[in-house]
């Protein structure tokens, strides 16, 4: 990355809570992701100038908005930050058009009218100009809040849980719409969310927060496949987050012991992670990458299947297009995840063809590339 568009370093002490974060982001949307109370919204407040950090430096597209050591603190009124609040904060006593035009007071009436019309057009709010926020739908309100923030031609756009007020179907539709709008605008944008799907759909770069700290900042695909640690994987609610013991580690492979099995996983020479034998090891297995071995095709082929295990389906759940199976290994000792060891996801069709509803005993395999080792 050359010069980042966003360079954010913020330290802020509040009673009983401290954030101390530093992250950067290039082109595209940066998503701050993490559990509630991790300091994501507080970071937005610092970016907007509404909260003054105790220390740090905030640079947006080369412009220094805050620098504690240089005594720079541009007030929120002059930061040109478009801020979409979680509560939306649409002025209830003003019309849709007045809300959108609120930040354009210093422009001429003509200019303001044009800008409001442009935003109304872009966000598909035509015909609602004279309505009050209480007289339009939740999705329309969300668009008006975005429009009000965009109308000032912001240097930086901040969205705090922008879709949290909406119900699920609308949330999905607006998520994709928002993604397109953000992609078209090409301005620096920061989105806060605690929903990983939303983070992944909206963000080009995802910054993971936990307890007022950044635990990982990475392009979204890297985060999905290589969470930096067990705690990041836990924040992402990754299923089948497991713990085993190292048997042997080389730059390309890691052998580990788990629930009486010896499993082989891929290691990456790039990260140079070589734990000692007998060291504890966290790893995860994506439920959709576990392969059930068909009983009508003969014995498992060792060249084709690796990490073969046997188990019983102790529970299953229908998710519409997929089934989630909870499998307990045929091994003594307590299962890894309460009553079961692994979650396995199979398409509906596979569930029906293999008659998993009745046939509960299965052999299955996991490719070594689908066992993701988490560096300690």
């Amino acid at each position: 990355m050359s010069t980042p568009r966003l360079d954010v370093a913020v330290v802020k002490h509040l009673p009983g809570f401290t954030i101390d974060v530093h992250w950067t982001a290039g082109d595209g949307v940066a998503v701050l992701f993490g559990p509630s109370g991790a300091g994501k919204s507080l970071t937005l407040a610092c970016l907007s100038g509404l909260v003054r950090p105790d220390a740090g430096r905030i640079v947006v597209d080369g412009q220094v908005l805050f620098d504690a050591s240089a005594g720079i603190d541009v007030p929120p009124q002059r930061r040109r930050v478009g801020y979409v609040f979680q509560s939306l904060a649409l002025f209830p006593h003003l019309s849709v058009a007045e809300n959108i035009g609120f930040g354009l007071r210093d422009r001429s009436r003509h200019e303001r009218g044009n800008k409001v019309a442009e935003v109304v057009e872009r966000l598909g709010l035509g015909g609602l100009e004279a309505r009050r926020p209480s007289e339009i739908s939740g999705g329309q309100r969300q668009r008006v809040a975005l429009g009000r923030a965009l109308a000032i031609d912001p240097a930086l756009l901040l969205l705090d849980e922008p879709l949290s007020a909406l119900d699920l179907p609308l949330r999905r539709a607006l998520r994709d719409e928002l993604r397109e709008t953000l992609a078209a605008l090409r301005m620096a944008a920061v989105v806060v969310t605690h929903d990983f799907t939303e983070a992944y759909r909206l963000g080009d770069r995802i910054v993971v927060y936990e307890n007022g700290r950044v635990v990982q900042a990475a392009p979204r695909s890297e985060l999905l496949w290589q969470p930096a640690s067990e705690s990041v994987a836990r924040i992402m609610s990754i299923p089948n987050l497991l713990r085993g013991t190292v048997v042997k580690a080389t730059p390309n492979r890691i052998q580990l012991r788990w629930r009486g099995q010896t499993l082989e996983a891929v290691n990456s020479p790039a990260r140079a992670y070589l734990p000692d034998a007998e060291a504890p090891l966290a790893f995860f297995v994506r439920p959709e990458y576990v392969r059930l071995i068909r009983k009508d095709r003969g014995l498992a082929d060792p060249g084709h299947h690796m990490n073969v295990m046997r188990g019983t389906v102790v529970d299953d759940a229908d998710f519409g297009t997929t089934w989630t199976l909870r499998i307990r290994l045929d091994e003594p000792g307590p299962p890894a995840q309460g009553a079961w060891d692994l979650e396995v996801e199979v398409p509906h069709l596979v569930y029906e063809i293999l008659d998993i509803g009745h046939d509960r005993e299965w052999e299955f395999s996991i490719h070594r590339g689908s066992i993701h080792v988490l560096p300690g």
Binding site: S48, G49, L50, P76, Q77, R78, R79, V81, G82, Y83, F85, S87, A89, F91, P92, H93, F102, G103, R105, D106, R148, I152
Partner: protein, 221 residues
């Protein structure tokens, strides 16, 4: 209705309207500051404004005499400079009513302002508004019903003020005798018919005011 009664009614209305206007000018900014700012002496200001609500009106009236009487802390320099004394004029009646009604406005308006979601103000700040413009364009309009309810209550209180007015303005027919004082005088001199008329009038006015305040308050919440 007798000429004295009409004089008293006219005076009462003038006093109440002026007192409410003065309360609005002082009370609304004060309510905003108490709701939204932290400053040194905030507790003291809050206490001083609220005190007339709990003190006997004669005690408040006594303090006003100490402050504004011919030999008072402010009254003496004023008399020395202009030869004018506030005490025992209708101006005194206005001041007494203003002070007595102020806590009702400030408390109601403060609660209304405090209930405005701060996100509205934060949004206004990021959209270029200073704190004062935000108060004017966002906070106060959103607290409007509560503020108006406070003004209505203050007006009713000013209309019915008795104790502090008697202490500072006296009971001079045609000059400082407001309706409550006229009722008192009428009862003392045995003119119960006149007293009854004024009592009925004041009751009616107060009921009307309470109904309006209740409706505005209900809409505010």
């Amino acid at each position: 209705m007798s000429a004295e009664s009409l004089d008293a009614l006219w005076l009462s209305l003038r006093v109440a309207v002026l007192a409410t206007a003065l309360d609005a000018m002082v009370g609304i900014p004060l309510a905003y500051l108490l709701a939204r700012r932290n400053f040194r002496g905030k507790t003291l200001v809050d206490l001083l404004v609220t005190l007339p609500l709990v003190l006997p009106p004669t005690v408040t009236g006594f303090y006003l005499i100490v402050l504004l009487g011919r030999r008072g802390w402010l009254g003496a320099p004023l008399y020395a400079a202009t030869g004018f004394t506030i005490a025992f004029t209708w101006t005194a009646a206005v001041i007494a009513a203003t002070v007595m009604a102020l806590p009702l406005l400030v408390r109601t308006a403060r609660a209304a302002i405090e209930s405005v979601d701060r996100d509205f103000e934060r949004a206004a700040h990021t959209l270029g508004r200073s704190e004062w413009r935000t108060a004017w364009e966002v906070t106060l309009p959103l607290a409007r019903n509560g503020i108006v309810a406070g003004l209505v209550l203050a007006f009713a209180r000013a209309l019915g003020e008795f104790g502090a007015t008697l202490m500072l303005a006296g009971n001079i027919p045609g000059r400082t005798t407001t309706v409550p004082l006229a009722i008192y005088t009428a009862v003392q001199t045995g003119e119960s018919g006149q007293a009854l008329g004024l009592v009925a009038l004041l009751t009616l006015l107060s009921c009307g005011v309470l109904l309006i305040a209740g409706r505005l308050g209900a809409r505010a919440s």
